[in-house]
């Protein structure tokens, strides 16, 4: 009897090999991975994998590559702890373990024929980049699209070169701001919420995908709703402690929701009551 057995399948990592690694910012790096098996790795924008460093441990990392490119698997990672610190030391040819993909993706189908705001900050751009790739591949399915991105300083801007390229397109609004400017920075300075009134969208038919530190998401949602975007049209990506990623261990619970399987992407209306509770 075929089973999605907890002990036999979903908790056992597959071996993936590092093809390439590079630094993105001072604490963020990207791994390009390939599976060792034949089957291509298929995922949807917003999903994540559990990456395992032999003997060390596992961490949940969102997938940040193009879902239409089945050859390579891209993960942009911020080095903040023991396991991510070890992932940073991996070199071409090294193996790591991978379980996934897990999670509920961004609803790219549901928001077709609407204006789309993609609002992120810091490393939050990494889980949303697959959406941008998808939207650009299916550009005629969406109306006005704006990417609003905030970083701490100009040196912390993620995917800077790509953002510049996208900004050059006539069918995409890209606005970047930093919290603290520098002498050579001639872009916007100020909180990412300040970019919302400057973007071009019709609140009555806009969907917003928001991802970043929880505080940033809170202020962003406030600003969006002030601008007339409804709670049911705002989607956020939540983060909680994860061990199994399969709905068993209980660690990722957010109110009654399991972030690993009911999320990480949630419609804001669904979690509105939880969102403003402290320590939930």
């Amino acid at each position: 009897m075929e089973s999605n057995g907890l002990t036999e399948k979903v908790m056992v990592p597959e071996r993936f090999v590092v093809q390439e690694t590079w630094e993105e910012t001072k604490d963020t790096f990207t791994l390009r991975l390939k599976p060792t098996g034949e089957a291509p790795f298929v995922f949807q924008p917003g999903q994540f994998n559990m990456l395992y460093v032999f003997g060390q441990g596992e961490v949940p990392i969102s997938i940040s590559g193009d879902p239409a490119e089945s050859g390579d698997l891209i993960h942009t990672i911020r080095a903040v702890g023991a396991v991510t610190g070890q992932l940073r030391k991996l070199e071409q040819g090294d193996a790591l373990g991978l379980r996934g993909p897990f999670g509920r993706p961004w609803p790219v189908e549901k928001v077709k024929q609407r204006d789309l705001l993609i609002i992120t900050g810091g490393i939050g751009l990494a889980p949303l980049r697959p959406v941008i790739y998808h939207v650009l591949r299916h550009r005629e399915d969406y109306e006005r699209v704006a990417v609003l991105y905030g970083a701490r300083t100009p040196q912390d801007i993620l995917y800077g070169r790509q953002l510049s390229e996208w900004r050059g397109r006539f069918d995409l609004q890209v606005r970047v701001t930093v919290d603290q400017g520098t002498k050579d920075w001639h872009g916007s300075i100020g909180v990412v919420t300040g970019l919302i009134p400057r973007a071009n969208f019709d609140p009555a038919k806009t969907a917003a995908f928001v991802c970043g530190p929880e505080i940033m998401m809170r202020f962003t949602i406030q600003e969006l709703m002030k601008a007339g975007v409804a709670a049911k049209d705002i989607y956020v990506s939540m983060e909680r402690n994860m061990h199994c990623a399969a709905g068993f261990c209980g660690h990722c619970q957010y109110g009654p929701k399991f972030v690993c399987k009911d999320g990480p992407v949630f419609c804001f209306e669904e979690i509105q009551d939880l969102f403003y509770l402290k320590e939930i």
Partner: protein, 151 residues
């Protein structure tokens, strides 16, 4: 050729003033433009004007002494630069520099203050608007303080 009155009426900051109020405000206004890199106002100087930005980008700088210059905010088209004209002792608390070629309408603070004293209805309308600007600057500053991307 647009008059000051037209420009003021069009600007998002003033566009809901009554025609009479717009006239009063326009009486204190003049056109200005700043090439890229020029200083518009300097920290410490008397704040005799405020500016409604029509095009371009202005960066707010603060002298951080040993930390060097701190670049803390940009004001862009459709936004307002300056609130010290309204609040004593009427000195600029920061330096503002045009990052790009910037076109603005300058409004004479002394002139407007006098008109507001004479016409409290206009005064209240302007005060409400500036209170909103101050409130959103304060909120934005708080969020910047939280350094949310920091950790």
């Amino acid at each position: 050729m647009k008059t000051i009155k037209d420009l003021i009426q069009e600007h998002p900051f003033f566009h809901d003033l009554s025609p009479e109020q717009t006239d009063l405000v326009a009486g204190c206004g003049s056109n200005t433009h700043f090439p890229a890199g020029t200083v518009i106002v300097k920290e410490g100087e008397p704040a005799d004007y405020f500016y409604i930005i029509r095009q371009g980008k202005v960066t707010i700088e603060i002298d951080g002494q040993s930390r060097g210059t701190l670049y803390i905010q940009t004001i862009e088209a459709g936004e307002v630069l300056g609130w010290s004209w309204l609040i004593p002792p009427h000195h600029w608390k920061f330096t503002a520099r045009a990052t790009e070629e910037t076109v603005a309408t300058a409004l004479d603070g002394k002139c407007l203050r006098k008109k507001c004293e004479e016409d409290p209805v206009l005064g209240y309308a302007l005060l409400k608007k500036f209170a909103t600007v101050l409130a959103s600057r304060l909120e934005a500053t708080r969020v910047q303080l939280l350094d949310v991307y920091g950790k």
